[in-house]
Symmetry: C2
Subunit: 405 residues, 2 copies
């Protein structure tokens, strides 16, 4: 039984899809089209639905007057991303609601669904904008944050028909009691251990940095090698030093996935390199030590290449444990369904970690083939999606069956 | 005496200038505007002048029926370039012709001036397109070469009103007897040795490569460090290995000035890195060894990071000695003018090396303050330009005074 999920996945992948990869970024026509598509599906199921002032899609199955049970994920993608990261969580929630409607279920309290805006942070280098707005985080300092395509956030929002000043109105966390999110694992562990589903115990902490190294732009043929102040040489040292540190630490990850070198002539010694560091640790003490590690690697490389440094933290999400009672509930449902399941920590950040600061939150994983994600090759076949959808449906049925305070 | 040179430098710097740097690239409106500006100046001096089918500006002071004495340089720039590289050579030639006209000089053979198109190769990654067309090189394989902004060369030409198929018509080398070019040194040696002018003995050989490394795009938080195939890590190894090799060799230079990493998400392990290598040597044997060096550094790094490799040579200019008789003539004029002068090799490539394959060619240098070039900070003050302009004028007067076969 897949219900509508397969068809919805196919339809959604066409929005911002190029036949292979999917590109849906914050405040772009592609993501807005996907959001409107979701609003239509929610209306078809009889829910109230809208795009809120932070660009989140919010659907409400109103019932009772208790706090809402919220389920969701996100619709935006990384550049050249896949069809499942975020999308599967949103569409599994949609399918769960469809099944509950289909069976004539009557919730005892509100059941809400959210597709949070800009979880990936692709355009503005800051992740989870939408869920942060939903829980009421002050994001005023992001107003002038400039996108990869050179547009300040407030202008990108205006062009999309939104108003940065109204973002605080998206805060509805006070009406929510708990949050559930289904996601692909994005790693190889479930496949290796043949798990059908997994309960997420906690989410790794992430620190993001923008690093700018400045040396001296000069002629690549006439400047003696020993006189150069080559910003790319400095950036290269940082990339390798951070990677070596992560390999030897064993329990942290570090990535540099975006770099821009200026002025960019093949025959010009590059005077400026701007790159972004993503550093993660699940252990709180390790997480605390990441800041010093990044600054030390950058400082050493810059000194060796006689470069000046500008390091700006772009985002910081501490390690986040998931709610024990909700973990228990998910595990019980997996056991009741006769699944092979286990417990895993999440190496990726998720909107659940933002929600978890305010309400009981939990996640469940379905497998990622080959552990591949953030790639057009990410894939979870229908038969590996269904156990997760069934558990999510059962958990929502249980959470909404009794009036909670 | 600066004549019109100061005013012309100021005027020209406004075309494609942003107040600080200058950006004039092949087939762009900025470079075409500069070319048309030069045609107007040449018409004002009474020369025939036109933009040829390869985008070169060619001015002709017709006289006699012998081979032409050609003088020139280029008007295009590197990204965020300065006001003097190329431009000073063209405008010094223009000023020399103005002075010869002014004094009533009557040449005994044709005196031609050229501003060669796309010397820097900024947009299409291949240098000296215009002078190569002028000497009749077959460049048919460049038709579909794609620019940094994603446009094939033939389309960029069409958009600018040119026709790639007509480029061979720009070949006029058969009518030329010799070539002179004035240029800024672009290095620190003249300043250190307090030279007013320098005779160039030869031009360093240059090899250019486009290197593409492919690993695997994946999630930066969930992919174990030891499982990654990170294309930027590979590129970083190449950058540092090439630099170390050049430092220890002592008589070669290597530069990576342009790099593009895909897909470009901060939280995505980069699956592809494309970068450009510029490697130079003056010694012919050293020059021959550069190809193996580049391929070895790339091969080693790719093996270490489990990446696949695609290396494409983009251009190759062997070391080029300048014509001894013309060197003698320039030295004689410097001596006669009472200048402090010397002999230097050129670490930068110049159109003169393309012309030198066909006709006697020579260059003279004026100093670069601080050795800086390919930068908005490149600067040669008026009093350091004048000795070079005077020598160039005297040399042209001498070369055009007697009928040559």
């Amino acid at each position: 039984m897949t219900g509508m999920l397969d068809a919805w996945l196919d339809e959604l992948a066409l929005i911002g899809g190029n036949g292979r990869a999917v590109n849906r970024f914050a405040w772009t026509p592609e993501l807005l089209a996907a959001s409107r598509w979701l609003v239509q599906r929610l209306h078809e199921l009889g829910l109230e639905a809208e795009i809120d002032p932070a660009g989140n899609v919010l659907g409400r199955w109103q019932a009772g007057d208790g706090p809402a049970v919220l389920v969701g994920s996100h619709l935006d993608t990384v550049p050249e991303g896949g069809r499942f990261d975020g999308a599967l969580g949103v569409l599994s929630a949609l399918e769960a609601i469809r099944r509950l409607k289909d069976e004539g279920f009557e919730p005892a309290q509100p059941l809400w669904i959210a597709a949070f805006n800009d979880e990936e942070g692709t355009r503005f280098g800051t992740t989870m904008f939408g869920s942060a707005a939903f829980v009421g985080d002050d994001q005023a300092e992001l107003r002038d944050r400039v996108s990869t395509d050179g547009v300040p956030l407030s202008e990108a929002m205006r062009a999309a028909g939104f108003d940065f000043d109204l973002v605080p109105r998206a805060c509805l966390i006070g009406s929510v009691g708990c949050y559930l999110e289904l996601h692909i694992e994005q790693g190889p562990r479930m496949e290796l251990q043949r798990m059908d589903t997994a309960v997420v115990t906690g989410i790794v902490g992430v620190r993001g940095y923008r690093v700018e190294l400045r040396g001296e732009t000069n002629h690549a043929g006439t400047t003696p090698m020993e006189n150069r102040r080559d910003a790319l040489a400095g950036a290269s040292r940082v990339v390798l030093a951070l990677r070596d540190a992560a390999l030897s630490a064993g329990d942290i990850t570090v990535n540099v996935g975006r770099i821009d070198v200026q002025p960019g002539g093949t025959n010009v010694v590059p005077g400026t390199a701007v790159f972004f560091v993503d550093a993660r640790a699940a252990d709180p003490q390790r997480f605390a030590s990441l800041d010093a590690l990044v600054r030390e690697c950058v400082g050493t490389a810059a000194a060796q290449e006689r470069l000046t440094i500008e390091i700006s933290p772009t985002h910081e999400h501490p390690p986040t444990p998931m709610d024990p009672a909700l973990q228990q509930l998910l595990g019980d449902e997996m056991r009741a369904a006769g699944l092979t399941w286990g417990e895993l920590s999440s190496g990726a950040g998720h909107d659940a970690q933002v929600l978890a600061r305010h309400v009981a939150s939990a996640m469940l994983f379905v497998p990622s083939q080959g552990g591949i994600s953030h790639s057009p090759d990410e894939f979870t076949p229908s038969e590996q999606r269904e156990p997760g959808v069934a558990v999510l449906t059962a958990a929502l049925r249980k959470l909404c069956s009794t009036q909670r305070p």
